[in-house]
C-alpha cells in the first residue's frame, strides 16, 4: 500500500526535478507536505518525533512545521518507510571506529539518480560534447558499493563518461594509480572531468610532488568531502590552488560538492562570499535553511545557524534532516561555515568527540 503512495510521490518529485519552473500544478511546498505526511505514517521513528513536537498532522498545512531528523538517527534507527526486503540499496556513512555507521536505505535510486544528474549537469557537465572523459580519483563500486559518493560518481561515469566501466576509477585496494591516471590523461584530447574526495586528492598531490598531469583546457575538477577521521587535513583553499596547479587549470575550474549519505541531493560551490566562505547553490527540489541549534526555528535573515536540509528526493526516508554544519543564507545560495563549534570543556567528563578521536 505504501509502495503505491511512494511511487506516486517519486513521480511528483521526478516531474518537479525535470521541470521545476513550469510545474505550476505542483509546488515544492505541496510535495514536501505530502512527503512529510507519508513519512509520518510509515517511518516509525518520525511519527514519534512529530508527536513529541505536538504536530497535528491532519491539521498542518505547512511543510515547515514538520521536524527534521538528526543525521545521527541514521546510525540508530532504520529511517525508512519500508521493510528491509523492500529496500535493496543501502548507502552507509564512513562511520567511526566505535562502530556507528549510519545507513540510508533506498527502494530504488531513480529520484536520486535523476536529481544527481540534473544538478550535476548544471554545475559539472562540459558543454562542448555530449560525452567526455570522467575520471574518478576514488575507489570503484566493486570496492565501495555502499558509498553514496561512489554511486554518484559511477553514475556520472556511466551517463557522461567515455571510459568504460571501472577503468575510470584510479584508486584500487587503497592504492592510487597515478601512473595510469597520467597515462590516460596523456591520450585525452577533449575536455575532461576529474572527481575525487579531498583526502584522495591530497594523496595524489603528495605523489605528484611538483609534477603536473596536464588536462586539456576547459576541463574541470570536482572535489568533495572533508577530512573527518583522517590523520591529515589541508585547507580547502590551498587544496584547490594545488589541484589547479597539478592539473594545469585555473582555480575557477576546481569546484566543490557538498553532500552526505543521509541525503539524495548534492550542492555545488558557485563562488566565495564577501566573508571568504564558499557559497553553495541548491537545486529547486532541496532547501538549506539555517536554524537555531537549540530551538530548531529558522534564524533571522543573514544570521548563521545549523543546517536544516530539506530534500524532496528523500521520499522514503527523511525529507528533512538536521546536520551539524553551520550555514548562512546569501545571494545565490548558502555559505558553508564549517562544523559547529566544539563545546567548551567544563570538567573531566569525556566529550563524545574525544572518544571518537581516541578510538580512531
Amino acid at each position: 500500500m505504501n509502495g503505491q503512495e511512494s511511487d506516486a510521490l517519486h513521480a511528483r518529485v521526478q516531474a518537479f526535478i525535470r521541470t521545476p519552473e513550469t510545474s505550476l500544478s505542483d509546488s515544492y511546498e505541496s510535495i514536501a507536505l505530502a512527503i512529510a505526511r507519508f513519512q509520518f505514517s510509515h517511518v516509525h521513528g518520525y511519527e514519534r518525533l512529530c508527536r513529541a513536537r505536538g504536530i497535528d498532522v491532519a491539521a498542518s498545512t505547512a511543510h515547515s512545521v514538520f521536524p527534521a531528523v538528526p543525521t545521527d538517527a541514521f546510525k540508530l534507527a532504520r529511517v525508512s518507510a519500508f521493510a528491509p526486503h523492500d529496500t535493496p540499496v543501502a548507502f552507509r556513512t564512513s562511520g567511526t571506529t566505535l562502530g556507528d555507521r549510519g545507513t540510508h536505505w533506498f527502494r530504488h535510486t531513480n529520484s536520486y539518480d535523476m536529481g544527481a544528474l540534473a544538478f550535476g549537469a548544471e554545475h559539472l557537465r562540459l558543454a562542448s560534447t555530449r560525452r567526455f572523459p570522467v575520471l574518478v580519483v576514488g575507489p570503484p563500486p566493486s570496492e565501495l558499493g555502499d558509498s553514496s559518493l561512489t554511486h554518484m560518481l559511477s553514475l556520472f561515469v556511466r551517463e557522461w563518461g567515455t571510459l568504460p566501466g571501472e577503468t575510470a576509477f584510479f584508486l584500487r585496494g587503497e592504492k592510487l594509480d597515478v601512473e595510469r591516471l597520467a597515462e590516460v590523461v596523456k591520450h585525452i584530447d577533449q575536455q575532461a572531468l576529474v572527481c575525487g574526495t579531498s583526502f584522495a586528492f591530497v594523496h595524489l598531490l603528495d605523489e605528484l610532488e611538483s609534477q603536473q598531469i596536464v588536462l586539456p583546457k576547459g576541463s574541470r575538477v570536482m572535489q568533495t568531502g572533508g577530512f573527518k577521521g583522517r590523520s591529515r587535513s589541508v585547507d580547502a583553499g590551498e587544496l584547490k590552488r594545488r589541484l589547479a596547479q597539478a592539473f594545469a587549470l585555473d582555480v575557477a575550474s576546481v569546484t566543490s560538492e557538498y553532500g552526505m549519505t543521509e541525503l539524495s541531493t548534492q550542492f555545488y560551490e558557485v563562488g566565495t562570499s564577501v566573508r571568504g566562505f564558499p557559497v553553495y547553490a541548491e537545486p529547486p527540489w532541496a532547501r538549506v535553511i539555517p536554524v537555531d541549534g537549540v530551538t530548531l526555528e529558522p534564524v533571522a535573515a543573514g544570521k548563521e545557524g545549523i543546517a536544516r536540509i530539506e530534500d524532496l528526493a528523500n521520499v522514503d526516508s527523511a525529507w528533512a534532516v538536521i546536520v551539524g554544519d553551520r550555514v548562512r543564507r546569501v545571494d545565490g545560495g548558502f555559505e558553508l561555515l564549517g562544523r559547529a563549534h566544539d563545546a567548551t570543556p567544563r570538567g573531566c567528563s569525556i566529550a563524545i568527540d574525544e572518544i571518537l578521536g581516541a578510538a580512531r
Partner: protein, 329 residues
C-alpha cells in the same frame, strides 16, 4: 572555610558554570576535607617517592585539585602546581588555606624543563598526548585522562530510591566530572528500565529546584537537542527544561548536561558487552544495593555505591585506569 565560601561562591559559579547552589553542593559532597587515617594510608602507600612533583591541571572539576595536590604531596615534599587557565582560583584558595611553603602555584610551566621527579598531568586525551610528547626522559609522567561513570541498578533495587541516588550523582558538577554517571543500566526488562527512567526524571525535577543546573554553552545545548531528537526516533524520552532522560535498549553516550541514558540489561555480567567500545572510557561503576557483590563489575575501575559515585574516598586517584584508556582489564 564558610567565610571563604561566601566570599568566592559567585566567582566559582562564574568560572565553573555551576549554579551557586551547585558550587555549594560540590563543596559539601565532593571535597575530601575529612579523610580517614586508613584512606590517607592508602593514598601514601599508592604513591612512589619522588624528588618533586609538578602537577598540571586542566579540565578537571574544581574540587579535584585537592586530591591532585594530596597525591602529589604523598609522593614528594616539594610540589609545583600549574592550575587550569579557566579555573585557577580554587587551587590558589586551597594553597592559601593550607599555607604549605612547599606547595608552589605557578602560572606557566615548561614541560621540557622538568628533568626529574614526577609530572602529574590531568586533562583531555589531546592535552595529555601533547604533554607526553614533551616530557624529558628523566621525569615520570602520571597522566589522568577524561572518562565517564555508569550506574548499574540490580534486579532487586527499589527504583525510586535508586533513582534518587543516581540523580544526586548526576547533579553533582552537572555531569561534568569524570566520575559523573551518564549511562545507567537497569537489570530487568524494558518496562523496568522505563519505570526507572520515570523515577529518575521525577527525581531530577526535584533536584532542579534544590540545586539548579548551571550555565550550559550553546554547543552542548545543541548536542542535547540532537540527542533527545535522535532518541525519540528509537526509544522513550522524558525532557524537562534542564534535564533529559532517555530509555533505549542500546547504549549511547549522552551529552554531559544532566542527561541520563538508561538501558535495560538482562544481567549485570553483560554490562561490559553492552558498553562495547565505550567500556575503556568508564572510570567508575556505581551500583545500587549490593556494592560488594557487584564490585567485580568495576573490572579495574572504581566501584562505588550509587549516590556516592562523586564522593570517592581520598585513597588514591579517582580514576584507577592507566592512560591512555585502550583496554579494560
Amino acid at each position: 572555610m564558610s567565610r571563604l565560601r561566601d566570599q568566592y561562591r559567585s566567582e566559582l559559579s562564574f568560572v565553573t558554570k555551576l549554579s551557586p547552589a551547585g558550587v555549594d553542593f560540590a563543596l559539601d559532597h565532593a571535597l575530601e576535607t575529612d579523610p580517614s587515617q586508613a584512606e590517607l594510608d592508602a593514598l601514601i602507600d599508592g604513591a612512589t617517592e619522588a624528588s618533586r612533583v609538578v602537577v598540571v591541571l586542566s579540565s578537571n572539576v574544581f574540587t579535584a585539585s585537592l586530591r591532585a595536590i594530596a597525591l602529589a604531596k604523598a609522593a614528594a615534599a616539594k610540589v609545583i602546581v600549574k592550575p587550569s587557565r579557566r579555573e585557577p582560583m580554587f587551587v590558589r584558595l586551597l594553597a592559601e588555606y593550607a599555607s604549605d611553603p612547599d606547595v608552589e602555584i605557578v602560572k606557566e610551566i615548561d614541560i621540557r624543563s622538568i628533568e626529574h621527579g614526577e609530572l602529574h598531568a590531568y586533562g583531555s586525551d589531546a592535552t595529555l598526548q601533547t604533554i607526553a610528547a614533551q616530557v624529558p626522559n628523566g621525569a615520570v609522567l602520571r597522566a589522568h585522562g577524561t572518562g565517564f561513570g555508569v550506574a548499574c541498578i540490580d534486579a532487586t533495587a527499589p527504583l525510586d530510591e535508586a533513582a534518587e541516588a543516581l540523580s544526586r550523582d548526576v547533579v553533582l558538577f552537572d555531569q561534568s566530572g569524570c566520575l559523573s554517571p551518564r549511562i545507567a543500566f537497569v537489570v530487568g526488562d524494558s518496562e523496568r528500565a522505563e519505570a526507572f527512567g520515570r523515577s529518575v526524571y521525577e527525581a531530577l525535577n526535584g533536584w532542579a529546584t534544590r540545586v539548579p543546573r548551571g550555565a550550559v554553552d550553546e554547543q552542548t545545548l545543541m548536542e542535547v537537542r540532537g540527542y533527545a531528537d535522535s532518541m525519540r526516533m528509537v526509544g522513550a524520552v522524558l525532557e524537562a527544561k534542564d534535564h533529559v532522560v532517555a530509555i533505549w535498549d542500546r547504549v549511547r553516550l549522552p551529552p554531559a548536561a544532566r542527561v541520563v541514558h538508561i538501558v535495560p540489561l538482562r544481567g549485570p555480567e553483560l554490562l561490559d558487552a553492552a558498553l562495547g567500545k565505550l567500556a575503556p572510557f568508564v572510570t567508575t561503576v556505581g551500583a545500587y544495593g549490593a556494592p560488594l557483590e557487584m564490585r567485580w563489575l568495576s573490572r579495574g575501575r572504581r566501584a562505588a555505591v550509587l549516590g556516592m559515585m562523586q564522593s570517592p574516598p581520598l585513597d588514591g586517584p579517582v580514576d584507577p585506569r592507566v592512560w591512555p584508556p585502550s583496554t579494560v582489564t
